[in-house]
Subunit: 257 residues, 2 copies
């Protein structure tokens, strides 16, 4: 299967990064769909394409249709989409390939494992792209497309992709929540978040060079009950943070038993 | 007060980094004490000093005595230490300056806000150093010493330092625990941790450039109950992680209400 013309169904953060990158690498972006016509127009302008906010206006002229909409909207988009017998993929970490059942014969998943923002286009060459196809021919086709963007292309089935997404929630979404709480605590005490940034950077550098478990530090892992009590007292006016502090500290102790 | 000769009481990760950096910047390291003579010898060799494992052998020839021992050992070290009327500081984030009461007239805190490892000497010039002195003269003396190592010297009192330390536990120790759990989940499923490293790096880059709260992503903040349920099901065999997932997701929802 040779892929040259691509249609983007979606114009959010993932579509914006992925589709402009594909266009930069020689693919022709045939159409961009979004229910929000301004988003569709913005991405279409960026990648020399045309925009539509009507799913029924999506034409059959592409070799590949990439659905990058919110996870829970994929299924309803598929129901409305009239394109049949064309290769369709989605880009969602947490959605199984089974979502395509009955909607198409040719389908797969094209999941770039990264967090994207419209305003900041990333270098794609080291972004892992996880590929799953309905059959080996489709898998190979999608791997070929992915390889034009990145040197890190992986065949990953839906179960593994679900595990990856779960791990990413812990490592990224949850970790970010704790950065946010630290920011909040400092702000409440008129201390600039900047002062802990070098510490934060070095913590992550260490975690990336080791098994993070082996470089765990802090009062919980060394069973320093006096400091833990001291911190819990400091959080008296913030009962939600206090509960969270307790819970995570216990989890660290358990994990290092 | 002019500081030239320094004694290190402690030879752990903090002492190793701080004392070698001071020596590199022209200070003379008079003695290195550690209850573990091998640690004392290792650091003493590194900074052209002499080693002892006997607190009573610490001589009065230094202008500054830096205590870098475990937080809960500072107080007992001070009780045993026979050096009086000399400038003594500790380097601990969570210990108040009050720990010196009755032990010395000249004291302060010299807290480098970073995580140190013996095997990896960091560039000190951007490490924030938090200074607190028993009086303004001592504060100024310590700031002068700190300024020879770093461009980021801050006057921070014990209460603020406690808050900084608390925030650092959230942003660093707790975040690292979630990196460790992600590592564990992937390892249990034979997936290499490497695959989520680009995502992890970009998550931190984003958090450092913004208020982390404003760039929170993931199922909890978008109230995606289907994905949350899916993840909790996946964690059925790991009840501790399951509870933690639930608890942190609820905390994220609360925080973004």
């Amino acid at each position: 299967m040779n892929i040259k013309h691509i249609t983007s169904i979606g114009a959010g953060n993932v579509a914006f990064s992925l589709i402009t990158e594909l266009q930069k690498n020689g693919y022709i972006i045939n159409q961009v769909f979004s229910r929000n016509i301004n988003n569709a127009l913005e991405l279409a302008a960026k990648c020399k394409s045309e925009a539509t906010d009507n799913l029924n206006k999506i034409n059959r002229d592409s070799d590949l249709y990439i659905i990058s909409v919110k996870d829970d909207a994929i299924s309803s988009v598929l129901k409305e989409l009239e394109i049949k017998n064309k290769l369709i993929v989605h880009t969602a970490g947490s959605i199984s390939i089974d979502v395509f059942d009955k909607h198409s014969e040719y389908y797969g998943v094209f999941y770039p494992l990264q967090t994207f923002s419209k305003g900041k286009l990333l270098n794609f060459s080291k972004i892992p792209i996880c590929i799953e196809g309905a059959n080996q021919e489709i898998t190979n086709t999608l791997k070929t497309v992915a390889s034009t963007l990145s040197t890190r292309v992986h065949e990953i089935d839906s179960k593994q992709r679900g595990t990856l997404h779960l791990a990413a929630v812990f490592a990224c979404n949850f970790a970010n929540h704790f950065f946010a709480i630290a920011h909040d605590i400092l702000e409440n005490n008129n201390i600039d978040f900047d002062i802990i940034k070098p510490l934060l950077k070095e913590t992550v550098t260490k975690a990336l060079r080791n098994n993070p478990k082996d470089v765990q530090t802090g009062p919980a892992v060394r069973n320093d009950e006096k400091t833990i009590k001291n911190h819990l007292d400091k959080l008296n006016r913030f009962p939600e943070f206090q509960k969270l502090y307790s819970f995570v500290s216990d989890s660290i102790k358990d994990f290092h038993k």
